[in-house]
């Protein structure tokens, strides 16, 4: 969107690079990113990796098991995006030579023990089914060095009256039937804090990143598409009604602001047990 029509007309980027979301900058603002080796667990489209690089990370491992996401992160945050404002903001260091996109399962990360000084899980755990929580927490703890920091940003369970709950429920029904696991689980902050406490982490602080959470038309259609995708692998008499319901709900919801996104920051002791 060009708000500067009478000025230089340079508001628009080329669309290939990322502006670091405020959720990311707010979550990292009080964390010692500068000079650290960082790991973004569940890299998505690379927003947090971009934020870590902008905050002066020494090296960022963007770990994702999704081939498409890995490519997107490389395109947006890696060499193709180097030389943009973010690289300049990071003290003139090119973004590319500090970023390594790692295609791997978070239950088995190809990094040495104690290799990382700061781990982020920004919007990760809501797509992690309960059965996988422990193995991921154990693995992230293994690669984290003594004294390492961990930032877990996620969503509280939605309030009862949130309309998007029904859409997420249909998405979960379709993916449960198709894959045996839910697509989405919204863990309260305290649940994830206790999970990591079991691996020796202590909570530094909790803050609210978004309140309310804006589920925009784009989010709602993306979730409906995910539900449709899962439903399409089911028997038609089961899948078709689920797909139709996802579409109906997406159209009915449109967009909605509901719920809270939180950030919990944790720390490992300087020396392991």
């Amino acid at each position: 969107m060009d708000l500067d029509a009478d000025a230089d007309g340079d508001e628009e980027g080329d669309g290939s690079t990322t502006d670091v979301p405020r959720t990311v900058t707010a979550a990292l603002a009080d964390r010692p990113v500068e000079g650290r080796v960082c790991l973004e667990a569940g890299a998505g489209i690379g927003n947090t990796s971009a934020g870590l690089l902008a905050a002066g990370a020494d090296r960022v491992y963007a770990v994702t098991n999704d081939r498409g996401h890995a490519e997107t992160v490389r395109d947006r945050v890696g060499p193709a995006a180097a030389g943009d404002a973010r690289a300049n903001a990071a003290g003139g260091r090119a973004a590319d030579d500090r970023l390594a996109v790692v295609e791997a399962d978070l239950r088995s990360v190809p990094l040495d023990a104690d290799a990382v000084g700061l781990v982020t899980a920004h919007g990760l755990f809501n797509v992690v089914p309960p059965a996988s929580l422990d193995r991921i927490a154990a693995e992230l703890t293994r690669v984290a060095a003594p004294g390492a920091h961990l930032v877990v940003d996620d969503y509280d369970p939605l309030p009862d009256d949130a309309a998007v709950r029904d859409l997420f429920a249909v998405e979960n029904a379709a993916t449960e039937l198709a894959t045996g696991s839910p697509a989405l689980t919204f863990y309260p902050a305290a649940v994830l804090a206790r999970l990591f406490a079991g691996y020796g982490w202590t909570v530094d602080r909790e803050r609210t990143l978004l309140d309310p959470v804006p589920w925009t038309g784009r989010h709602v259609s993306a979730h409906a598409a995910k539900a449709r995708g899962a439903a399409s692998s089911l028997r038609p008499e089961l899948g078709d009604p689920l797909a139709a319901e996802a579409d109906r709900l997406a159209a009915a919801v449109g967009e909605e602001s509901a719920g809270r996104m939180y950030s919990v920051a944790l720390r490992l002791p300087e020396e392991h047990g």
């Binding site: 060009d2 508001e11 502006d19 489209i45 809501n126």
Partner: protein, 294 residues
């Protein structure tokens, strides 16, 4: 309506400043009513310019009637001493007043302009002379140019009392120094410079003129303004909670009453809600693939 110190000027400005450009699109009777409406809502800071059509002339009668209730800002796009002084005299004449509380360098866009106004024979010489003569109380600058240029101006104009600059959640969501008006705000607040926010209600650009001719636009603004109460209110709250002293209304008179209402009902906006708005607009506008998360 909430008031805040306008930097170190000694004046407490209301959290909304009336952008009197709105008067340009009204007949005199409507302009008089508009000023009464704005004053009834409690607004005590007005801003006008000679480039706003005949807004100065239309503001005149009610301004003179209520002169003591109004902190009056005016500005000039002239960059040299003689031209700026002539423009100041003309504004005083058209407004029909003896003094202007805040006189501002209008629309600084280029480094060379800054060189000109700060040099010998530059506009600021006229501003300072007028201040010494008691015609002007405070000196300000307005710009929606590169934040670095505005910071440079803060460095180079020692007696700067106020700044007028853009504050908009769409721009705030963008990285890069060219969008970093928050750095300007921070600096202004450190230096005791009052700050006035423009572009708070910009919703986007108009469709290209071959799709929507300029004369067919429903608002006079050169950007497409937000125009539902909910949007106006969240835009006002965002700008007013950003560290600005005061937020200026969108220029179209049709929007002023709604913005006054938002200003009267302003109760702050916390960081989580501010980020929520930035995120929502960022996703609305995002050129990147669809995302499930924030």
């Amino acid at each position: 309506m909430e008031t805040r110190p306008l930097g170190d000027t000694g004046h407490d400005s209301t959290v909304m400043t009336f952008g009197a450009i709105a008067l340009n699109w009204l007949e005199q009777e409507g302009a008089d009513q508009m000023v009464e409406l704005v004053l009834d809502a409690g607004v005590n800071h007005f801003d006008v310019a000679p480039t706003y059509g005949d807004a100065e002339l239309k503001l005149g009668p009610k301004l003179r009637q209520h002169r003591e209730e109004i902190f009056l800002g005016c500005k000039t796009q002239e960059r040299t001493v003689d031209a700026a002084r002539a423009k100041l005299d003309r504004s005083l004449d058209r407004l029909g007043v003896d003094t202007i509380d805040l006189y501002q360098v209008h629309g600084l866009e280029y480094e060379e302009e800054l060189d000109t106004i700060t040099a010998e024979g530059g506009a600021l010489e006229a501003f300072r002379d007028a201040k010494a003569e008691g015609l002007v109380d405070n000196i300000g600058l307005t710009s929606h140019a590169d934040p670095d240029l505005i910071l440079d101006a803060v460095d180079r104009i020692d007696d700067l009392d106020t700044l007028m600059l853009p504050m908009n959640p769409v721009v705030a969501g963008k990285d890069g120094d060219e969008y970093d008006y928050e750095a300007v705000l921070e600096r202004a607040n450190e230096e005791g410079i009052g700050t006035l926010g423009i572009k708070a209600f910009a919703g986007g650009s108009w469709p290209p003129t071959d799709e929507l001719a300029q004369e067919d636009r429903p608002y006079c603004n050169w950007y497409r303004p937000v125009d539902t109460y909910e949007e106006v209110r969240e835009r006002f709250d965002f700008a007013a909670s950003s560290g600005l002293t005061s937020v200026i209304n969108a220029g179209d008179p049709k929007l002023v009453a709604m913005i006054l209402d938002a200003a009267r009902n302003y109760e702050g906006m916390d960081d989580a809600a501010r980020r929520s708005l930035v995120e929502r607009l960022r996703h609305d506008d995002s050129p990147v693939p669809e995302q499930l998360h924030h």
